[in-house]
Every structure is written in structure tokens, then in C-alpha cells.
């Protein structure tokens, strides 16, 4: 018997030596590991037998004799914010270790997180800048690329105006990158700047912010551990946010919590539920109103909470009365008894939380759905406390941060809006003349006009010029870190791509933008570093900011996003203005400086307290934060009393050391300890009814009732202005010398108003009621509206979509007409299966990056469609066979995918993952990628089939509820 040579003692000795050796970063464990190609010896000499080596010769692995440095960054593949611990040797990322210290992931990863090393060192990345020359990808230098692109942009600007260039940014930017990208668009002179939030949680942000103040997850992943009832409506967190399940499942086990999953699919999350409720796609509002119907009928609502903290619940009552159990079952398919039981849990087994993601948001009624969910939580008193809340799971590392920093068509950084006051605020922060900005825009009106949503860019390219409410059609797309297959109606998008005068894709991988069309010229690919090669902060879904270090220098000829933006700004002539207060080293803007600038201007949302120094201290002291409360012990010298990642809002200047806000609107804490109230954002009264809170206030508040938001004038009335330092007062007076009293807490660059309010225990943004009736929005009280491609034409008459609008975000929204046509034409008969889409754990987003990762690609090698066995049998389709899926759009799109026959989907429902691309209507487009940069796995995108339909508030598309027909291929 062969016995392992080494004994345990000698192993321990190894470990001991390693620990005592003076090494750069922790355990120098692979110092003695050497790379090797083939091992010779034994049977290798037999020639004919290749010795079984598990390792391939190329790629990374431990490097001989090299020092190992440990660097921390944040996984980019969802919003949980898992810490990635990288072992770097000689500038090469050679190993990954669990990040045990992070309270967010405690060492854990999902398939994507555990494979991130390959994302950086993968051989499918873009290596150097390229352009299409008569249909051929040709290598060019960075200088050439920037010069040519800059000249073309200027030419388009000259001819068609600044609004004809679209700046599509990324949720994979750092906060600094997102902010800089938004700032860049401002300096260019357009509001046509957007990123992935448009297609994931734009409706959440709009819905939630319009209900209680801020557009974000109210609590945290960790806090779900406290919940007694957890309701997933439109989230498959087990696949989309796997590490969050660590907290949720542990919470479920410890509290023996109710774990309810409401979804059209019996998802991987549903498999762990204590109650699974199958609903029809697109009927979330009736489901929610159905629950509320039971709650009101049985008087399970939290009457005190509603009286004190909610406005307009009676209006909701009226709408909810219509949703009798019978009507709910008729529309949604959910039995009344089951819904009643879930409603009772939510109301009685508190704290209860609702979790959602794309299942609620990606609808023409997305914003309304989100508001209905908020209303349900408000009615049951499940907001603003530990274990409760709207736990909205976002999709990328920094989609929350990018949204916060205004990489968006409707706002400037940190939700300052598109109004003159906001522009003036940022002009002050940026120290750039307001009038100069005005001159950059096509006309001053466009400065305050929301841009075109990323879901509609190709409509703005293809529609007749007179239907696009700006000077000219879109002529150029400048895309950074954003897939092309993530928007609906791909056949039309392809035409849009072909119609562009200029297409620039700056990304680590070519993306479908590069391959899907038949463009021949004027197309550029710029190799950009992945997030792991970039330093900066990222905001997780729970609003915690984490500072990621650069793990390795950008590989090949890749450049950091910040550098690309700087080079382009320089070429376009506004770099000096734009980087006035930001240090630039070797063309690379310093991330820390950008964050400091964000801090200086970010008072509205509490991005003012998270200085780079504080964030770096948090990363260093990760182990000190509590798993459940996320708080560090008060006596810690560096991070004492802080919540992990200083979850925004983190008020005031960094020096006042606000600890961050782990739970929004939490009145049980002092505002200096992270407490808060609902935001007074919508006035003080409406039609004689007060909008301010009634008899509730945060702990320690000197004002023991509701109150409006603060400005210097209010401070004066209370006599608190004396607490301002002279310096603070001087700053306030500088901001508005004519009327300093009107300077509000949000534009007070001194942070004085916030500091003084915190000292008095009050929330500077006011103490108001949340709105169950969100006046000012379409459908102030949410009402059900059938999807544009409804499978139930008989319901369309009763629940039609909103009327057409000629110019909504500069383009027409013809949802009503399309819906009516569909009913008239009997589309639902021709396409009898509901098609919905979702996420796989192995891939992310459009999937180009993850499909280029061989470790992930191996696990999902074919695009597929889930079909119920009954539907499959009726069509002669067997599991694993190829099928054609036909879409109902006028373009009559089709897709060839494999069938996965499963009861996971109900009868009449089919589901496709949205990560595939590189096939188009049955044609493999691999040859169109630059050689060597084609993803490992290609497949049909579901968005070839998805259809028209847009949320009126945000321009959100509707990929979660459309129709299709399936035939065996």
C-alpha cells in the first residue's frame, strides 16, 4: 500500500514556517509552487500515453518563487457585494481565497464569484483597440481610436447637435466611474445618458422613492435574518443573488420563518419555500391587492402605523375593494384561500419583509407594481424596522451606486433632478460656470428635459425625425460596459445599430453590439479593464459602499474606464474644466479624488460622509462588523460604531462620523445612530390633509411630531442657526447670497444644516408620511393593466394599458394602440404560450463576459426554453430537442433553442434565460466577432422575441410578460 510520504507533523511545520516568514501579505503559501508544463517520470516515458495532467499549459496558476500579495475587490456579478480575495504574484492573479471577514458574504461565492479570476485572465478578452474597415476587424492604436472617435463625435455634434450622441454607461462602473460618466454627458451637453438600471430597477427606484423618499432597498441582506415572514414576489434570489440565500435560509431556519415564493415558476428559490404561489406573469398588482383585500376585510392592517405614517390609504382601500378573491383568481390564477393565508402571515407574523427584483419591475406597470408592494408593507406596518422592509435585490455590483450617481436620463448625480437649481448645485461643486453648461446643450430647454431611455435608443434612431423630440435622430452610440442583447425587440435594434453613424463599444469583451449587425465601418471596439482591474468604491444593494483595490493592472492594452473618459474629454476639449478638482496621473484620474468630489456634492442622498479613507478603513477592519446588525463595536479606534460600508445616507461631512443608515426610515434609532423618518419630499399638505407624520418621530428627536424639510430659514425659526459655525454660515451665504434662508439641507455644501439637525435629533429631510397615493404619477393608486401582449384578450377591455403618448422621453409610447391591435388580430390565439424570462446562476446580464469564462460556460452550453410537459407533449417536443420559438411582434421573430421540459413552469407558460447572444434567428454569428474574442458559448437571445411595451414613468421595457408559439425544430 502506497502511503502518503509526508506526515502531519511536517505539514504543520510547513504551515508554521509560512506563518512566521516575513511575507508581504498573509500566508505566502504558493511561494514554492512552480508552474510546469508536463510532468515527466513513470509512465510518461511510454510515449504513446499522454500523462494525465489536469493543468493546461497556458493561463494562470501559482508562479514559482514569487511573493504573494492579497488584494480585495468586490464581485461584479450581483449586488450582494461579496468580497473577492485575490492572491497576486508578479502582477498575475494566481489564486482566489474566501473573504471570510466580510459580513456580507463570509467567504462565500456563487458560481460566478468563485470563477472571477478567469474573467480577468480569460483569453477571450479584447486585446487592443479595433475598428471595422469594410467589414473586417482591424487593429488600431489607442491614439488613433480616440482621435478618430473624437473627430466623428464632433462632426455629429456639429450637424445634429449633442443630443444625437448617446452615452450608455454601466452598472459595472465604480461609483467614481458612474459619476464621471454622468458628469461627462453633462459636459458634452446631453441628458441622453443611461445604464442598466433602466432595464432592471428603474421602476423600483421611481416607485419606492415616490412612496417614502429614497429609491433603494430599505434594509439589508443581513437584516433579513430577523424576519419572521419573507415574501418573494418577482425574485429568484437563489439564482440571481445566491449568497443572499445564506442570510435568508439561516434566518428561515433560526426563526422558523414563513418563506413564501410567489412566481410564475417554481424557481430554485421556490424549492426552499414553505409556501409556493404560482401566479400569471404580469398580474402582480391583482395579487398584491388580493392580499390587501383580505387584510382590510379582516382588519389585520396596522391601524396605528397607517394613521401616523401613511398618506392616502383610504384611496387604496377603494381600489382594493374591487379585488375580491374571485376576481383575483380569475385574473391571476391564485386561489383565494392561499392568498388569504399569505396575507395573514404578512400582517400577523411580523416582522415581515418583501423581496423583489425583475419580476415586479420589468412590466409596463412596473412602477405601479412596486408602489403596490410598498403599500402592502405600509398597510401591515412592515417598513422602517429590523426584519421588515422592501428588500429590493439589485443586479450588478454597483447598479445601486450608478443609479445614485445619476447615470440616468432623468437626474443629475444623487437625485438632484433636471432643474436649474440642481444644475447650479453641481456647477458650484464642479466649479464650472452654469452658463457654460447652458451653452453646451442644443438649447437651454434640453438641459431640463429627460433623455431617451436605453430601451428606446433604436426608436430614436429609426423613427421619422419629426417623431423624435430633439434636434435630430440619434446618430451615435458610445457604449461602455453594457450588453446589446439586454433590450427587447432585437430585430429592430439590429436595424437601429445599422443606421448609426458611429458605434463605439468600450468593454472587456466585444459584446453583441459588435456582432449582431451587418455594419461595415465606423465601428470601434475599445478594450477596457474589468472591474477587478479598477480601484474605487461600489455600492451594494443594501447601500453599503465598499472600496475595491485594483487587483492587477489592466491586461493587454486595456485601459481603465476613468482613463478612457479622460482621454476622450481631452480630445473633445473639456478635460481641464471637467477634471478641475480631480488629480490625473498618467491620464488616469485618481479615484479617491473623484469620491471626495462626490462627498462634497452628495448631501441629498447622504453620499457625503463616505470618504475614501473611511471606506478603506472598513475594508481593512471587515471582521469587526456584526453579522446581523452590520455594526462595529463602539470602542474600535478606526471604525467604532460604524455600520459596514457606511450605508447611505451617511450624513454630513466625513469628520462628523455619521455611522451610515443600515435601515431606512427607522424611527427606533437616533438619527445620529442611523435612525430616520419618511422623507418630506412632496410638500406639507394636500387638499387640506397633512403630509407630515402624525405623532411619530425618531428616537431623541427634539421635535416630537412630523416636520417639513430644513433650510436655513427653518433653522432660524427654531433658533438652531446659532449652532452653525461661522464657516458653515459663510458657505451657506455664498450659495445664495440673495436669499440665504432658502438654502436647503441638500444644497448646503458646508454640511452645517445636516450637522445641526443631527445634533438636535431631527432628520433634515423632514418627517413625513409615506404615500399610498402617489399623486403626480400616472395611476396614483396602482391599478392593474394587462400586458401589451396579453394572453387574456377578454381582460384587456376591463384592464387596458394607459393611452398612447406622443412624446414620452422624447419618443412616442404607442402601447395602447399595439395592445388593441393585438386583441383585434387575435394574437393570443396564434401565440398561445406566455413567454417570460429570467436569470441563470452561471451567467449575468447579456452574458458576454460570463459566457466568455470557460469555467462558467461549461455549465450552461446551450440556450434553452422551459416548457411545461403538457405543452411539450401537445407539440411533439421532447426534453433536450431543438425547438423554434416564434415571437408575436410584427417582425415575426424566431429563435432556435433547446427544449427543457419541466413542471417548473405552469401549463401555458414558457421561460427563457436572458443571457444568451451570438445567434440570431437560427444563424450562428460567431464569425462576426473579432477573431479569438468570441465568447465560448453562444445562443439565441430571448430579447429577439420580447416585445413592445414601456412603463410610462421610466421607460422600462416588458420582457417578463409576452407571448410566443413553440414548434419542434
Amino acid at each position: 500500500m502506497l502511503i502518503k510520504r509526508t506526515e502531519r507533523q511536517s505539514r504543520r511545520a510547513n504551515l508554521a514556517t509560512a506563518l512566521t516568514q516575513p511575507s508581504g501579505g498573509g500566508l505566502d503559501r504558493r511561494t514554492f509552487l512552480r508552474r510546469s508544463g508536463l510532468a515527466a517520470g513513470g509512465l510518461a516515458t511510454l510515449g504513446a500515453l499522454p500523462l494525465g495532467s489536469v493543468r493546461k499549459a497556458a493561463a494562470a496558476g501559482p508562479i514559482p518563487g514569487a511573493q504573494t500579495t492579497i488584494r480585495k475587490n468586490i464581485c461584479t456579478h450581483c449586488s450582494v457585494g461579496c468580497t473577492v480575495v485575490a492572491e497576486v504574484q508578479n502582477g498575475v492573479w494566481t489564486g482566489q481565497e474566501p473573504g471570510w471577514d466580510s459580513p456580507l458574504n463570509r467567504g462565500s461565492h456563487c458560481a460566478k464569484g468563485a470563477a472571477t479570476r478567469e474573467i480577468v485572465h480569460g483569453d477571450r478578452r479584447l486585446r487592443y483597440p479595433m475598428k471595422l474597415v469594410n467589414g473586417q476587424w482591424t487593429r488600431i492604436s489607442w491614439d488613433t481610436a480616440i482621435n478618430e472617435i473624437g473627430d466623428k463625435l464632433n462632426a455629429i455634434r456639429e450637424k445634429s447637435g449633442p443630443d444625437s450622441v448617446y452615452w450608455l454607461g454601466s452598472a459595472k462602473f465604480t461609483n467614481e466611474g458612474s459619476y464621471l460618466n454622468r458628469k461627462f454627458a453633462a459636459y458634452w451637453g446631453t441628458n441622453n445618458v443611461d445604464h442598466q438600471a433602466r432595464i432592471c430597477h428603474s421602476t423600483t427606484v421611481a416607485g419606492v422613492a415616490n412612496t417614502w423618499g429614497y429609491g433603494a432597498m430599505t434594509n439589508s441582506y443581513n437584516d433579513i435574518r430577523n424576519a419572521k415572514t419573507i415574501v418573494f414576489l418577482g425574485s429568484n434570489a437563489a439564482e440571481a443573488h445566491p449568497v443572499s440565500l445564506q442570510h435568508i435560509l439561516e434566518g428561515k431556519e433560526l426563526n422558523r420563518a414563513n418563506f413564501v415564493v410567489m412566481d410564475p415558476r417554481m424557481t430554485r428559490t421556490g424549492a426552499h419555500a414553505t409556501e409556493y404561489v404560482r401566479i400569471r406573469p404580469g398580474t402582480d398588482i391583482p395579487v398584491i391587492w388580493g392580499m390587501l383585500h383580505h387584510i382590510f376585510k379582516n382588519e389585520w392592517e396596522d391601524k396605528d402605523f397607517i394613521r401616523q405614517r401613511v398618506y392616502g390609504m383610504d384611496d387604496v382601500r377603494k381600489e382594493v375593494e374591487k379585488w375580491t378573491p374571485e376576481e383575483v383568481e380569475r385574473v391571476t390564477g391564485v386561489p383565494g384561500a392561499q392568498l388569504k393565508r399569505v396575507a395573514e402571515m404578512l400582517a400577523k407574523q411580523r416582522p415581515a419583509t418583501m423581496i423583489w427584483a425583475m419580476g415586479q419591475t420589468q412590466h409596463t406597470v412596473g412602477t405601479a407594481t412596486v408602489r403596490a408592494s410598498c403599500t402592502l408593507l405600509l398597510a401591515t406596518g412592515n417598513v422602517g424596522f429590523s426584519g421588515t422592509g422592501a428588500n429590493i435585490f439589485r443586479g450588478h455590483t454597483n447598479v445601486q451606486g450608478a443609479t445614485d450617481l445619476g447615470l440616468d436620463i432623468v437626474t443629475l448625480p444623487l437625485y438632484y433632478g433636471l432643474v436649474e437649481g440642481a444644475w447650479r448645485h453641481w456647477s458650484r461643486v464642479w466649479e464650472t460656470d452654469f452658463e457654460w453648461f447652458r451653452s453646451r446643450f442644443a438649447d437651454p430647454k434640453m438641459m431640463n428635459t429627460a433623455g431617451i431611455p436605453s430601451t428606446r435608443w433604436f426608436d430614436a434612431t429609426l423613427l421619422p425625425k419629426d417623431q423624435v423630440a430633439q434636434k435630430d435622430n440619434l446618430k451615435a452610440m458610445f457604449v461602455m460596459g453594457h450588453g446589446g442583447n439586454t433590450v427587447t425587440r432585437i430585430p429592430e435594434a439590429v436595424k437601429g445599430i445599422e443606421a448609426l453613424d458611429l458605434l463605439v463599444v468600450a468593454d472587456p469583451v466585444p459584446t453583441t453590439w459588435a456582432a449582431v449587425s451587418d455594419r461595415k465601418n465606423d465601428t470601434y471596439l475599445l478594450p477596457v479593464a474589468t472591474s477587478y482591474e479598477t480601484a474605487g468604491s461600489r455600492t451594494a444593494s443594501n447601500r453599503s459602499l465598499q472600496w475595491g483595490e485594483q487587483i492587477v493592472k489592466p491586461i493587454f492594452e486595456s485601459k481603465d474606464d476613468l482613463e478612457v473618459m479622460y482621454l476622450l474629454a481631452k480630445k473633445l476639449g473639456f478635460a481641464d474644466r471637467m477634471f478641475k478638482n480631480i488629480k490625473v496621473e498618467n491620464n488616469l484620474p485618481v479615484a479617491e479624488d473623484i469620491l471626495r468630489e462626490i462627498n462634497r456634492g452628495g448631501f441629498s442622498t447622504g453620499y457625503c460622509g463616505q470618504s475614501p479613507e473611511r471606506l478603506k478603513a472598513h475594508m481593512k477592519n471587515q471582521a469587526k462588523f456584526d453579522l446581523v446588525t452590520l455594526r462595529a463595536p463602539k470602542d474600535d479606534p478606526e471604525v467604532g460604531g460604524d455600520y459596514y460600508g457606511l450605508p447611505w445616507p451617511c450624513w454630513g461631512k466625513p469628520e462628523i462620523k455619521h455611522p451610515g443608515t443600515p435601515i431606512l426610515y427607522n424611527t427606533t434609532l437616533h438619527v445620529k445612530e442611523g435612525g430616520g423618518t419618511f422623507r418630506a419630499r412632496f410638500g406639507v399638505e394636500r387638499n387640506g390633509v397633512s403630509l407630515l407624520a402624525d405623532g411619530v418621530y425618531s428616537v431623541g428627536s427634539e421635535i416630537r411630531d412630523g416636520y417639513p424639510e430644513f433650510n436655513l430659514g427653518v433653522l432660524k425659526k427654531l433658533g438652531w442657526d446659532k449652532d452653525l459655525t461661522a464657516e458653515e454660515l459663510a458657505t451657506i451665504q455664498r450659495i445664495n447670497s440673495a436669499n440665504p434662508d432658502a438654502v436647503s439641507w441638500a444644497i448646503d455644501l458646508s454640511g452645517g444644516i445636516q450637522r445641526v439637525c443631527l445634533e438636535h435629533g431631527v432628520m433634515h429631510y423632514g418627517n413625513a408620511k409615506a404615500r399610498a397615493n402617489a399623486f403626480g404619477l400616472p395611476d396614483p393608486v396602482p391599478v392593474h393593466r394587462e400586458p401589451i401582449y396579453s394572453p387574456r384578450p377578454e381582460l384587456v377591455a376591463k384592464y387596458p394599458t394607459l393611452p398612447d403618448v406622443k412624446a414620452q422621453f422624447r419618443v412616442p409610447n404607442l402601447g395602447f394602440t399595439v395592445q388593441k391591435q393585438n386583441v383585434d388580430k387575435g394574437i393570443a390565439k396564434e401565440f398561445p404560450i406566455i413567454l417570460t424570462s429570467g436569470r441563470l446562476v452561471e451567467y449575468e446580464g447579456g452574458g458576454e463576459e460570463t459566457r466568455s469564462n470557460k469555467w462558467l460556460a461549461e455549465l450552461q452550453q446551450d440556450a434553452f426554453i422551459e416548457i411545461n410537459p403538457a405543452d411539450a407533449t401537445a407539440r411533439g417536443i421532447t426534453d433536450g430537442a431543438w425547438v423554434w420559438v416564434f415571437g408575436p411582434a410584427d417582425t415575426r421573430p424566431k429563435a432556435r433553442v433547446k427544449a427543457l421540459v419541466t413542471e417548473r413552469v405552469g401549463r401555458g407558460v414558457a421561460w427563457m434565460p436572458f443571457h444568451f447572444g451570438g445567434w440570431f434567428q437560427g444563424v450562428d454569428q460567431r464569425s462576426k466577432y473579432p477573431k479569438g474574442s468570441d465568447p465560448v458559448v453562444l445562443g439565441e437571445s430571448v430579447n429577439t422575441l420580447t416585445t413592445y411595451g414601456f412603463d410610462p414613468v421610466t421607460g422600462m421595457q416588458e420582457p417578463k410578460a409576452t407571448l410566443c408559439q413553440i414548434r419542434a425544430a
Binding site: T6, L33, V54, P242
Partner: protein
């Protein structure tokens, strides 16, 4: 002396495949070789459960018993390892293994399937601990560094446990008591001839 074991708590496993890619990452396992995999039972039905499975490092390992050339050996930690220098690629261990652990670089080239590859419990092979030869043939040797298998360390929900059998059994038992249900320590009866009362 510790008796190393794996335990997959199926009531925690969400088929996120982190264990699979962590393994690929740590050992640079090539395409087509799956030292670890996740199998979903009752896929898409109520009661669906996923289980992460690799070599269980059995007591009285069947692979070792049927190997015609005696290439398997058991370490002091009861980890079942093998020597690729001795393996003749006959494929018998795969027929005997209850868990489908052995993997082969080739599907069958006149019977030569190449050197068998399988989970090493991150404990390398017969070569010197941490040597380049060991890494090339078997991947990293974490156990020698005082670390546990990366698949379990990176498990998203702490479903996959690795370590001393008694300790992980205790963890699992406590979980079952606390939450009131447990679908079993999958494979334990087959691999270790013991089951954890739940």
C-alpha cells in the same frame, strides 16, 4: 486523527455551482472534467433538492477495491487519493464508484481514457506537498497548508461542509434540530456506512 468527510446539506443547497467553479479555479481543472457537480432531484417539482457531489472519500473505498493496479491510497486524514503514475485508465473505478466521482480526460481512445482525475479533498497526490509536480497532476494541496477544500469554503449558503466528520456531523445535527427538518446527509450511508439521525 481527523477523519475528513464532505456533507451536503440539501436543504441549504441552491444549486449555485460555486463549488464547481471554485474547484475549477483552485486546480485549473480543464473543460470536460467535473471533479464536483451539483445534481438536482425532482427538478422543477415541489420537493426539489440539489446536492453537490464529488468523491466522498469513502471508508473501504470501492474504487480502491476494484483498481487492477492498486493506484489508490488513503491518507492519515482518511482522504482517498490516487497516483496518476500508476493509473492505467481502465475505467473500473468509475463502474464501482457510487458517486460518479472518477473523471477521465478522454471518452475512450481504444480503451485508454487517460489518467483518471478526481476530487482530492484539496490534498494533492503522492508527490511532495506543494510541489510543482503535485500541482500539475492533482492541483493545489490546501490541506497541507491547513486549509479545507475550497468548494466548501466558498459554498454560498454554507450547505457544503468539509472537515472532520464528527464536527460536520455535529453542525448538521444542530441545524436539523434547530429548523426541524433535514433531508439527510446525502451519500453518508453509502460512503461511510453511517447516517446522521435527524
Amino acid at each position: 486523527m481527523a477523519r475528513m468527510k464532505f456533507l451536503c446539506d440539501a436543504d441549504r443547497c441552491i444549486e449555485c455551482n460555486a463549488c464547481v467553479t471554485a474547484c475549477k479555479n483552485e486546480h485549473e481543472v480543464p473543460w470536460g472534467i467535473n471533479r464536483r457537480r451539483v445534481v438536482t432531484l425532482n427538478d422543477g417539482k415541489p420537493g426539489e433538492r440539489s446536492i453537490s457531489m464529488a468523491c466522498m472519500h469513502c471508508t473501504d473505498a470501492p474504487c480502491a477495491a476494484v483498481c487492477p493496479v492498486n493506484c489508490f491510497y488513503t491518507t492519515a486524514d482518511a482522504v482517498v487519493l490516487h497516483s496518476k503514475d500508476l493509473c492505467i485508465g481502465c475505467g473500473y473505478c468509475f463502474y464501482a464508484c457510487p458517486f460518479g466521482a472518477p473523471q477521465y480526460p478522454r471518452v475512450g481512445n481504444f480503451g485508454s481514457r487517460g489518467k483518471m482525475d478526481k476530487c482530492t479533498f484539496c490534498a494533492g497526490g503522492p508527490e511532495a506537498d506543494g510541489s510543482k509536480e503535485e500541482y500539475a497532476k492533482y492541483g493545489a494541496n490546501r490541506l497541507a497548508e491547513g486549509k479545507l477544500p475550497l468548494c466548501a469554503e466558498m459554498c454560498s449558503t454554507k450547505s457544503l461542509l468539509a472537515g472532520d466528520g464528527e464536527i460536520i456531523a455535529q453542525i448538521y445535527k444542530e441545524r436539523v434540530v434547530k429548523r426541524g427538518y433535514g433531508s439527510g446527509a446525502w451519500g453518508w450511508k453509502t460512503a461511510y456506512r453511517e447516517s446522521i439521525a435527524s
